[in-house]
Amino acid sequence: MATSTSVPVAPPTRLRRLVDRLPKVLGVHHGGANYRYVDSPGQGPVIASRAAEAWVRTTCGYCSVGCGMRIGVRDGVAVTVQGDPEHPVNRGRLCPKGLSEHLMIRADGRLLTPMVQGVAVGWDDAFDVVTERFKALIAEHGPESVAVLSTGQLVTEEFYALGKLVRLGMGLAHYDGNTTLCMASAVSGYKLSFGTDGPPGCYEDFEQADLVVLWGANIADNHPLLTPRVLGAKDHQTLVVVDPRVTKSAMIADVHLPVRPRGDIALLNGVLVVLVEEGLVDLDEARARVDGVDDLLAHLDDWSVERAAHESGLSEDAIRDLARRIGSAERCTIAWTMGVNHSVQGTHTVTLINTVALLTGNIGKPGASPFSITGQCNAMGTRETGFTASMPGYRGYDVPEHRAELARLWGIEESRLPTERGRAYPDIVNAVMSGQIKGLWIIGTNPLVSFPNREVLELAFRQLDLLVVQDGFETPTTKVADVVLPAAIWGEKDGTFTNSERRVSRVRAAVEPPGLARTDFDIFMAFAERWGCRDELFPGWVTPEDAFGEWRKVSAGRPCDYSGITYERIAAAGGVQWPCPADDPDVPLGGTARLYTDRKFNRPGGRAMVHPVEPQPIRDAPRPAYPLLLNTGRTVEHWHTRTKTGRIAVLEGLSPEAWVEVHPDDAARYGLRSGDLATVRSERGVVERIRVRVTSIVRPGEVFIPFHWNERCANRLTDDQFDPISREPNYKQCAVRIERSTA
């Protein structure tokens, strides 16, 4: 990558260097000047290098908790950050990634100039090349031949603009985001149960509930700023953690249920059996509001607590205990994340959690909801505004009223709206592999590390005629791109993020992007110009706020109603939760905390729906050649594929390399000790020289590898099997074998 040029200076002579070094070698001074404390008005006494002159309020750009923070700026450089004590989400505290986020802005490895085939070019050239070649592909092979993969990391305004650009301006058929790799099952599950997406609860529920069940959610590592909520409620709350591993979150639980991988459907069915058997649900009340109750009951005839225990790996007592706790709780919140979503049955597992909540009345009231904790900082923004699984505003491609409404709002012919969602992420990869998709534009994501079965993806990328990658940092994916577009990153852009509890918070630019990097919004507008759709689709848009203004109108009246949310209102409230209709005096300043408080759902008749679910066996199950089950996940020090956190020394120091957790019994069987380097193989690929950690965090027969690392990439092993509804990958169960690496 090109770096900034500097004027060459004649190298000092050897003697000169020696003389210069002498005071240092002799230790005449101790370098105290570099470690001087100053009294900074906004910080108190602090080391001078971190003292800020101005503060910019923003929202963290890593996970979906959506912590409010302030970037401290001095001389145009982000020198520090602080948790925003006024922000309703995190009340002034941050996790280690947030606390070092200013270092990310200045980190090495930024993309500074557009590149075409490895050659630095100007923006005009880059736009021309991409536009001409995509147009040529479309002319020759049709709009099916170019696809876009975006992210959950842009601001909402950019997502809204990008959706219009891709689906209406460029007229592309296939557009999806990496949110399909993390939250799609929650989206699909909510849609099946309630008619639309949208997490019904809020973070306050974690405090108000008398029972919180964290289902496949290791918040202590992955959403650290949610843990104070449950820790602070210990006096009136029971915390249950359902997770095969003894995670950090399991350690703060009152009850840990070490469910067998993929055993959670059996556990949920067992819970439903007990709830029904012991009269802990009011079936008549349920039938009055919910469809599918009798089908569900009929399905439960096939189930018993005994079967649930057998298939979940838990005791019958543990299942009964959980069911009774849920059935008797005044307020029960069941919150889940990737342990549920990352499954070939993710969507259906989500519906089962929703079913438990619906039948026990744990929805639409304080402390009670089936709550999906999102992954990325603005996965929610793209779920609502995106043009992927649904049209903007949770509108269906096949719903005539929605189509008519959008066409009217945008002043375009209804026929220009796509009639179907197009290919989802894994299906785009398949189409690349088969040569149907020849041009791919990747924005803000690093599939080479994050997509399952990397060997196949690498092969697929080689089939492409044109791979365009737009990102802030050099990544394994930018390295194989034909065209690289340098984007501004968090701290350099304006807009909004929407967090897991539907809270819209402001993101603000604190510093200028380096080199030629431009905001994604600017890049999209420039492409719109090239594609001749700027004036039509983005009339008068100059700043992201213009996009926000249009999105407010487009979302009005929809479940995700932003019409009452303005930048000013966000500033006043710290963050505003949708739905927030304009001019509705009943909605508080901070928006609507919970959905479905009137028990009216977004399905026909306002009725929710429950679905019977039968577990499927694990496809790539352990067998003699691959006797261990691999689970993947994350660690608190790193963010996704480490394109950011891998560049921050303090975080790298805390978690410097990938590891594989192996139970002591398995370690003895395979001759492994902690610290050994091991080779892990699946049918699809191999991870070599990965550090062994012998620990009882994992069960015998199971191993765990965090997915963050490019070298020792867990996704060389994972099974590329996908949920048929959400298309989310089954990251968490595949068969591997392990052996000591030879030197």
Binding site: D39, A220, P224, L225, K248, P258, V650, L651, G653, R693
Partner: protein
């Protein structure tokens, strides 16, 4: 491998309830003013800590610490078997001890205990000798390479002075870390709340950090760092300082010619000059003489310097030979004593003193032609080593048995080399071999032995994370 903590239960599925107050709005309460007889200290609630490492990052940012210099660390402790595995995290920076070993050993007086109890390190007075890093049983003081001095946690003293919380306390999402007041006399009488599994005994330095242990800590625990038994830094200048000064002593004590006396002086002088290379700030080496009343390191510097002077005098005035040898003995004694510290169990024994004098006996006399005497010294040195291994094998803590494992397994080749050299020297001495050859073999044996002495010591330390010692500078 565990210390028996308070409130311990063996129940495999114990209740896990606890209350953590989450402070609203993150405002900063004023710290309470200290009453007479009180000092500030850290409190740590192990059950509230989720191992997020925010405190470490906040500390590094507050103090602008370069990569690799860490004032606060979070360790991990594990016990039990799946699904009843228990894991705990221990966040620790300086314990601001009542009897700080760092302060007591410091040759320059760089450490002071402030009125509010904080053990403060003053950079101006630090010469980078790193003796405090050997003394602290928690491995708190850290040598900071860019400054060539030791630095450490001062509880964000400038913030405390304004009534503000230290950065780590302010950053902890679960309020697991606090700053509180403690009555010094009461704590001195009962400091058991400073103990935790895998942590050095608080009675060594009277650590003031109050640790609240969660319920149900298993009887058997291990630190996540325990797999990674690593050699320590060899400190080559100190290998030369100690071996050469001991060779010099052996020569002085058996000197009969001017050549012998000059050899003793030259060795002592080179040893002292070489020692300067050990310091981060040799320009300030003279400050090492400040701590004569307290620090064995100061006494070593003083005694060996005086010895070198006397040895020089003896070259001119042979009558000074015996006084010089006596002064050399004092120097070697001071030199040995400074290694006898609780923070390094492998050294913390009179055997260290025996070994240092045995080295003098094994080497110097060989240079003055007393090869039989040297052979006795070499055998004595070997016996002292073996005795030390037997001593260290009695306890299964890594800081004890680990030293033996390093010497006899990790460095087994070098141990064999050492024994072979001793055997060669002793056999040659008995068989009447060349004195020069015998001296060469025995001196080489002692250099190898001394290098092993430095690299095989396993310091006491707080329990570490799985990654301890995998990155440069990690303690």
């Amino acid at each position: 491998m565990s210390i028996r903590p308070r409130g311990l239960v063996e129940d495999e599925s114990p209740p896990r309830s606890r209350t953590v107050e989450v402070e609203p709005d993150g405002h900063r309460p004023e710290l309470l003013a200290l009453d007479a007889g009180e000092q500030y200290r850290f409190g740590f609630d192990m059950g509230a800590c989720i191992g997020c490492h925010s405190c470490e990052v906040a500390c590094a940012e507050q103090n602008g610490l370069p990569a690799g210099t860490v004032w606060r660390r979070v360790g991990e402790i594990e016990g039990g078997d799946h699904p009843f595995t228990r894991r705990f995290h221990l966040s620790m920076s300086c314990n601001h001890c009542l009897e700080p070993a760092c302060l007591q050993g410091c040759p320059t007086g760089a450490y002071i205990k402030l009125d509010n109890g904080i053990v403060a390190h003053q950079a101006d007075d630090c010469i980078g000798c790193q003796y405090c890093t050997w003394n602290c049983p928690y491995q708190v003081p850290a040598f900071q390479p860019d400054r060539r001095i030791v630095t450490k946690c001062d509880m964000c003293q400038p913030r405390l002075a304004e009534g503000l919380k230290p950065a780590c306390v302010g950053a902890c999402p679960t309020n697991a870390i606090t700053v509180e007041k403690v009555n010094v006399a009461e704590w001195r009488a009962d400091h058991s709340a400073a103990d935790a599994p895998e942590l050095p005994d608080s009675s060594i330095t009277l650590s003031t950090t109050r640790i609240t242990l969660p319920e149900g800590v298993p009887l058997e625990t291990f630190a996540a760092s325990s797999w990674n038994l690593r050699p320590e830094h060899p400190h080559w200048p100190l290998v030369w300082l100690t071996v050469l000064s001991q060779v010099a002593l052996g020569v002085s004590a058996t000197a009969s010619t001017t050549t012998h006396r000059f050899t003793a002086f030259a060795l002592a002088a080179v040893a002292m000059a070489g020692a300067l290379l050990h310091l981060g700030r040799p320009a300030h080496a003279w400050k090492a003489l400040r701590g004569l009343r307290r620090s064995w390191l100061s006494r070593e510097v003083a005694a060996l310097s005086v010895y070198a002077g006397a040895a020089a005098g003896a070259v001119v005035v042979p009558e000074l030979t015996v006084p010089a040898a006596v002064l050399g003995g004092v120097g070697v004694y001071a030199s040995a004593r400074l290694y006898v510290v609780p923070g390094r169990p492998a050294w913390n024994s009179p055997l260290t003193i025996v070994r240092f004098f045995a080295t003098a006996l094994a080497t110097g006399p060989a240079l003055t032609g007393h090869v039989e005497l040297a052979a006795v010294g070499a055998v004595l040195a070997v016996f002292a080593s073996v005795a030390n291994w037997l001593r260290l094998s009695r306890r299964d803590e890594q800081s004890w048995i680990g030293s033996v494992q390093l010497e006899l397994h990790w460095f087994r080749r070098w141990s064999i080399v050492r024994f072979a050299l001793v055997a060669l020297g002793v056999v040659a001495a008995i068989a009447g071999g060349s004195a020069v050859g015998i001296a060469a073999a025995l001196i080489a044996a002692e250099v190898v032995a001394r290098w092993l002495f430095f690299v095989t010591v396993v310091p006491l330390n707080m329990p570490g994370s799985f990654w301890r010692h995998t990155v440069a500078g990690q303690r």
